[in-house]
């Protein structure tokens, strides 16, 4: 290799840093159109949840769930569906400081 090793390393690292910064800049550029359209749809239809977990009914609308539907059988029950390990009941429910019935 005719290039000095440290030159190669510093150049390569410099290149990587540039790409890294490129990613950060890319993340900063505003991209509002698509997400605004979805937000508008949510407003039009009155949606309250994302359609992320369609495998279980109680996982489909986690924000609407009450304590019982989140733990379908009993609080220590093992999850039926994998999505149960990804979401928890609403923090407010777990806090138990609410005055409304849950």
């Amino acid at each position: 290799m005719s290039m000095r090793p440290s030159s190669f390393v510093l150049l390569a690292l410099g290149g990587l840093v540039l790409v890294f910064l490129g990613c950060l800049i890319d993340a900063q550029t505003p991209r509002a159109e698509e997400i605004c359209a979805t937000q508008a749809l949510a407003r039009r239809l009155g949606l309250t949840d994302l359609a992320l977990f369609t495998e279980a009914r109680y996982a489909r609308h986690p924000s609407q769930a009450d304590l019982h539907s989140a733990f379908q059988d009993h609080p220590l029950a093992l999850e039926h569906f994998p999505s149960g390990s990804l979401i928890v009941p609403n923090r407010e429910l777990l806090d138990r400081t609410t005055t409304t019935p849950d």
Binding site: R43, R44, L45, T54
Partner: protein, 378 residues
């Protein structure tokens, strides 16, 4: 200044030659390290972006949703509740919502049937979500039948398919006419699933919720901010899978660092002795080792992060898809809007780069400070 730069470059020259001496081992190390960062960064970017997207989309959710509970379980809103709320100050609109779940045994998927607020769906037709359309091969003007829970078969014609870009919120939706909904589900007349309220002033929302729960004691108001907060704790690092991922990564990392820090071989000790004997100061030796640790960890971090960024935002995180999909038949295809959380990035950097550099430095410290005459004796 120039001589300082030249000095560092010399140290880098030596470090590189030293690393290349055990090419396979160091390449393997770099690969493992990069993979670790890649997995962690992917998880970090994906979950943060998803949470952000959820919060933004749900800005369109109703300000308050009122549910009714009977013996602690969800029940329908009986007729008259909307009237009992009547004209409450600050509430712009009160609307009974109709929605429910339907299990389609043909594809073993769950759908969400919903009556849109604007009543835009004509009788006999439905508007379907994009994932559902994909699954059942539906286009506008195709027909589809569902067997209701009473055993009767209902046929509908697809009027439209919701846009693919909204899939994250609409993947499994079926928008249906109100009369069709009531007939299909044999919904008791006059009842609604819950009530959605629009409030103009965000500061008033809580007060109105309190008033509502006083007025209707068996009801449970859910505020929009609570809905958004549900998703804020989605994939929280304390939960299930994220904790498992994090623990596994930390363990792998600890093993890596321990291996590095567990002491020098006789060869390495001797080499440091030689360097000192030919005129390198302790500081030079340490700086050289810092470069070694720094080059590897910085490369691994940058490569891992850039890889993660491309993986999550350009390819939609295909490696995570099986985990998230679980047993769902319908899964939304979506690409998240790129967003990087500075604090998380800094944390990732701090916890991946510094421990490794410390692990490289620790064992050579002792060797670097001893007198070089030990070399003469060996």
């Amino acid at each position: 200044m120039n001589s300082w730069i030249e000095r560092q470059r010399h140290l880098i020259d030596f470090t590189l030659a030293s690393l290349l001496r055990r090419k396979g081992r160091n390449l393997g190390l770099l690969t493992v390290y990069t993979l670790l960062v890649f997995v962690l960064a992917s998880a970090m970017l994906y979950t943060h972006a998803l949470r952000r997207e959820a919060t933004t989309i749900l800005e369109g959710a109703p300000e308050i949703v009122l549910q009714r509970l009977v013996a602690g379980r969800h029940d329908l809103i009986p007729p008259g509740y909307v009237e009992r709320i009547g004209r409450m100050r600050g509430v712009q609109e009160i609307r009974g919502r109709l929605w429910g779940y339907y299990y389609d045994s043909v594809v073993k998927a769950n759908y969400t049937f919903m009556v849109p607020a604007d009543g835009s769906v004509a009788r006999g037709t439905i508007v379907v979500g994009p994932a559902l359309a994909r699954q059942r091969g539906l286009d506008p003007n195709t027909g589809i039948s569902f067997r209701s829970y009473s055993g009767e078969l209902f046929s509908f014609s697809v009027a439209a398919v919701l846009p693919q870009s909204s899939e994250l919120a609409s993947a499994d939706l079926i928008l249906i006419n109100e009369d069709d909904f009531r007939a299909f589900f044999a919904y008791p007349s006059g009842h609604t699933t819950d009530i959605a309220l629009s409030v103009a002033n965000p500061a008033e929302v809580r007060n109105i919720a309190i008033k509502l729960s006083k007025l209707l004691p068996d009801s449970r108001p859910i505020l929009r901010e609570e809905m958004q907060r549900t998703y804020a704790s989605l994939f929280d690092w304390r939960e299930g899978i994220m904790l498992a991922l994090l623990s596994a990564s930390i363990l792998a990392f600890a093993i890596l660092a321990w291996e590095k820090a567990s002491g020098l071989s006789a060869d390495e000790k001797r080499e440091i002795g030689i360097l000192k004997a030919i005129g390198w100061e302790t500081g030079d030796v340490i700086r050289m080792k810092l470069w070694e640790g720094g080059l590897i960890s910085l490369t691994a971090f940058l490569l891992g992060f850039v890889g993660a960024y491309i993986h999550v935002f350009k390819f939609g995180a295909p490696l995570f898809a099986p985990v998230l999909k679980g047993w769902a038949v319908l899964y939304p295809h979506f690409t998240l809007m790129p967003v990087v959380d500075g604090l998380q990035l800094a944390t990732l950097f701090f916890f991946t780069v510094f421990p490794y550099m410390a692990a490289v430095l620790v064992p050579i410290w002792r060797a670097a400070v001893t007198d070089p005459d030990a070399v003469m004796r060996s």
